[in-house]
Amino acid sequence: MASNPVEYLPGKQPHPREHRMIFRNVDRAGWDASIDTYLNDGGYEMAKKALKMERQDIINEVKASGLRGRGGAGFPTGVKWGFIPPTNTKPVYLICNADESEPGTFKDRYILHQDPHQLIEGMIISAFAVKANLAYIYIREEFPHAATIVEKAIAEAKNKGFLGKAIFGSDFDLEIYVHRGAGAYICGEETGLIESLEGKRPYPRIKPPYFPAALGLYMSPTIVNNVESLCHVKHILQMGGAEYAKLGTPNNTGTRILCVSGDVQKPGYYEVQVGKVTMGEVINDLCGGLKPGRTLKAIIPGGSSAKVLKADETYKLKDGRELTIWDIPMDFDTMAACGSMAGSGGVMIMDDSRSMAWVINNLNKFYQHESCGQCTPCREGSPWMAKISDRIIAGNASPDDVDMLEQVANQIEGKTICAFGEAASWPTQSFVRKFRDEIKSMTKADLAGRIVNEETKLAVAGLEA
């Protein structure tokens, strides 16, 4: 890659605290999504290099880099690749998860729109490493232009002989196709995505036995990686795994793109070294601080499913450190130790103007709408959460309703086939636990005692007879 200094569009200059790697070309002056632009910048050299390497060496570099998946779960990418059964004889598939559906997250959008060849190059390397000859990019329906742009980029790459048969003159064949979703959060879940790609209702699969690395797309080994994760692979190959691992902090390596939204002066995307920036720095430095006259109330640090952090909390860590919300380094492990998760990098800031009941009601409605309906607790529970929080914000709830809201969430968490159960219940659980008094203050004590539905009580008695 050429190392000439990168100029950015006016008003789009990265913050000095940023470390632009994946987003190097986002908002870059004179940049476009064409293959020529990408090639002029040294593009596809890493793919060429990879195809001359031993597959295991690439996997080892990725393992050494410590790269953790950027889609939400933060699972080590190299380890995931290693789950393909060594005795496998079936075709292997690579799927790029570009469903970017976690509220608060909007990083992949910019890669797809502005730098599709970076993704394609990452996918060529990754597909080669896992021996996949067919790959799909699952792009959410709500990115219609992105789909067109990526399709065009694929055609360009194919024209150049970078995709198709015997790419770069090697004996490696690879086809990549864009597959568009149709508006379903559940398709961000990898087995739901696979079902969707098979043309079925995207009901997540039971695990065991359907672990994608063994029984994925068409019951063959399948690797599903996030857009950003696949882009990192290119840079890992360029830098070497060990060198890459020097970015960020131990076990939380590399850079990641933080997507900041909500009540800050400058919401947007910021690529930083993992763990090298604190929450306070994100808000005050990168985002220019809170809005004038406002104080911080709460933060959802890793996409809407992440448990909320309350502004006045302190976190005691195992190593003895005691952190305020401002001190939390933006990494995977500390965020988990503080009781939430770094997730997909979507940081949602809420100031003192926000009603927490209103916020949780908004999220309840999202999860109600997105529940696929397969598992009973989630299908039945997510509408109840929306219903109860509706009552609360309408002023028609009793204080007991707030506890019931939490109980319903407890009945979903960990009781579903996929992680949607957690995604749907963690926000409710954490908001109610941390802001119970505020939420209860919106309820009316004289509405208590209405809890039991007399009609059902009667009928259930009949049922027991």
């Binding site: 509220p103 608060g104 709500e142 508006g183 969707s196 043309g199 809407s304 979507g346």
Partner: protein
């Protein structure tokens, strides 16, 4: 239902993207049909099933799962306003109201069961949708395929005017 030859050619090409299973092409075929016919009719479901060698129910079960497939006719210009948290914090509920007012759509008629409201003149339709993944530029909406960012509720007329 008449599927033009060039559309069918594009559909046939899309099916080739799935060498292992034609069933995988359900979504792409439906997208192409919706793009052309504006929404998915029963005929489109039957046509897709026949094209892919499926039972019609195997297409219908998919169509009805995804809000991205419209099952009723939208207006000539379809507007999707983001409802989810970041946009809601930035005023998307108000934005929806304004779009409805500007296009003469009954806001009350848009709900979970009837997600799409169409203006009496059939010119516009409005849908309140979940996260469009542009939270940093909230509130946002998709008008047809175009994303509009940091939309000022006071300026919805200007947005719509671009599509008249």
């Amino acid at each position: 239902m008449e599927v033009p030859a060039d559309l069918e050619a594009r559909i046939d090409e899309a099916i080739t993207h799935y060498p292992v299973s034609r069933r995988s092409a359900v979504l792409p075929v439906l997208h192409l049909l919706q793009h052309h016919f504006r929404y998915i009719t029963e005929e489109s479901v039957a046509w897709t099933a026949a094209k892919l060698g499926l039972e019609p129910i195997q297409v219908l079960e998919v169509v009805t799962f995804y809000p991205g497939f419209r099952q009723t006719a939208p207006g000539k210009v379809h507007v999707r306003v983001c409802r989810t948290l970041a946009c809601a914090m930035a005023g998307s509920y108000e934005l929806l109201e304004k779009f409805c007012q500007a296009s003469g759509i009954d806001r009350e008629a848009i709900n979970h069961h009837h997600p799409i409201g169409v203006s009496p003149d059939g010119k516009y339709s409005i849908e309140f949708v979940e996260c469009l993944a542009s939270c940093g530029t909230a509130p946002v909406c998709l008008v047809e395929d175009d994303l509009h960012e940091k939309v000022d509720p006071a300026a919805v007329d200007k947005v719509l005017a671009q599509y008249s």
